[in-house]
């Protein structure tokens, strides 16, 4: 069929290229058939398909043979289906048939075996539980001991802190000691100032000079400066 249609279609495409005369109007004919979604071709729009007349004798004979075959196959399938069902009910091929006493004995045997297994497993389980219990007890004891030691250390540290505070509280300035403390502070002024040179040496005291000790080189000017800054800050 393809071979017969190719001629027509190639002629069509040639005509088309001739009429359009453009290289862009090329159509590639891959499937030599109208796709199903295209409407009926214009040339086929008013065509009424012819009804093929079948020979009545042939038709009757073919119909009879067909019905005959279907009837035979249906009957056979029904027979085989029933046969399988019957076999499933009556056959002893895939299982062993036992009398009730035998079944009871078999059941008892299975029960005994099961009991034996259960006992064996119970012994093993009890041993394991006992062992786990002991291990747990040891662990708990160890943890209790560790906790006790931690608590003692904590108390020790707290005691230490308390002792140190008590020791320190002896030097606290109370209302009674206030005057003496002031006097003592005035008597012993502490100078926290210091200066650094380029080598990183520290010279304690406001007026210390690198060469000697406590010589105020720029004392007057410094005091004036300090007073000025104090005023500015106030």
């Amino acid at each position: 069929m393809l071979r017969t249609t190719t001629g027509v279609l190639s002629r069509l495409t040639i005509n088309e290229t001739k009429t359009t005369g453009s290289a862009f109007a090329l159509e590639f004919v891959r499937w030599r058939r109208k796709p199903r979604w295209l409407p009926v071709a214009k040339s086929k729009l008013f065509r009424v398909p012819e009804r093929k007349q079948q020979n009545a004798d042939e038709k009757a004979e073919l119909m009879r043979l067909h019905n005959n075959y279907k009837l035979q196959m249906r009957s056979l399938r029904q027979y085989l289906r029933e046969e399988v069902l019957r076999l499933n009910v009556t056959t002893t091929a895939d299982h062993i048939v036992l009398t009730p006493e035998q079944e009871e004995a078999e059941f008892q045997r299975c029960m005994q075996e099961n009991e034996a297994w259960n006992q064996k497993i119970a012994v093993e389980r009890n041993e394991r539980l006992q062992r786990e219990l002991e291990e747990k007890a040891v662990e708990i004891r160890q943890r209790l001991e560790a906790a006790r030691i931690r608590e003692e250390e904590r108390l020790e540290r707290a005691d230490e802190v308390v002792r140190r505070e008590i020791e320190l509280s002896k030097s606290f300035i109370t209302r009674d000691k206030l005057d003496t403390a002031i006097e003592q502070a005035l008597a012993n002024p502490v100078d926290y100032n210091f200066s650094l040179d380029l080598k990183g040496n520290i010279y304690r005291g406001r007026n210390t000079v690198p060469g000697g000790k406590g010589t105020p080189t720029l004392g007057g000017a410094n005091e004036i400066e300090v007073q000025q800054t104090l005023k500015a800050s106030n």
Partner: protein, 186 residues
């Protein structure tokens, strides 16, 4: 006279839909006789008498097929159905025809009946299976039940015990319907 030209696919139907017929009649054609053209191939009378017409809701946008529920007294191949039948799902088929009142007698007087046919109950086994069964059971001519399809309008019946069936069922090719096809063959 204009020439009627049909286009498109050919059809086996001939006639109108029930909606077209019933909608143009007084009292929706209750009491009138209808025929399905498809069933006129049978010699026995096939016709329907309209008993009741019920218009059903219709949305042409959803479904362009217009149906109508028509209750009829149905006669098919000379057998009058005991209960009235409601035609609904097939009412859209353009295969119905209204019988003119003067022609009704033609259908009503047609007294042909389907001759009684009796189906066979049993059938032979196919050859190989028959051999197996012979070996297993020792029965020389084993037979099995025939599986006949069940339909609501079957005009044949199964053979009773000791009855000779008119339609034989064989495992072979059977008797040819048109023997002349086999002339000079083999």
């Amino acid at each position: 006279m204009s020439v009627v030209k049909y286009i498109g696919r050919t059809t086996d139907f001939r006639g109108k839909t029930l909606w077209e017929l019933v909608g143009n009649l007084r009292d929706f054609g209750v009491g009138r006789l209808l025929i399905r053209n498809k069933f006129q191939r049978y010699e026995e009378p096939c016709y329907m008498r309209i008993l009741k017409v019920e218009v059903t809701p219709h949305d042409p946008a959803k479904d362009p097929i217009r149906k109508v529920a028509v209750t009829v007294e149905k006669t098919w191949r000379g057998v009058v159905s005991p209960k009235p039948v409601t035609i609904y799902s097939t009412s859209y088929k353009p295969d119905y025809e209204l019988v003119p009142k003067e022609e009704e007698q033609k259908y009503l007087n047609n007294n042909k009946k389907v001759s009684e046919q009796i189906l066979a109950n049993s059938i032979d086994f196919p050859p190989l299976l028959r051999e197996f069964i012979r070996q297993e059971t020792g029965v020389q001519e084993p037979t099995m039940k025939v599986h006949h399809k069940q339909t609501h309008n079957k005009l044949v019946r199964l053979a009773k015990d000791g009855e000779k069936p008119t339609i034989e069922c064989t495992m072979g090719l059977g008797r040819p319907a048109s023997p002349k096809l086999y002339e000079n063959v083999l």
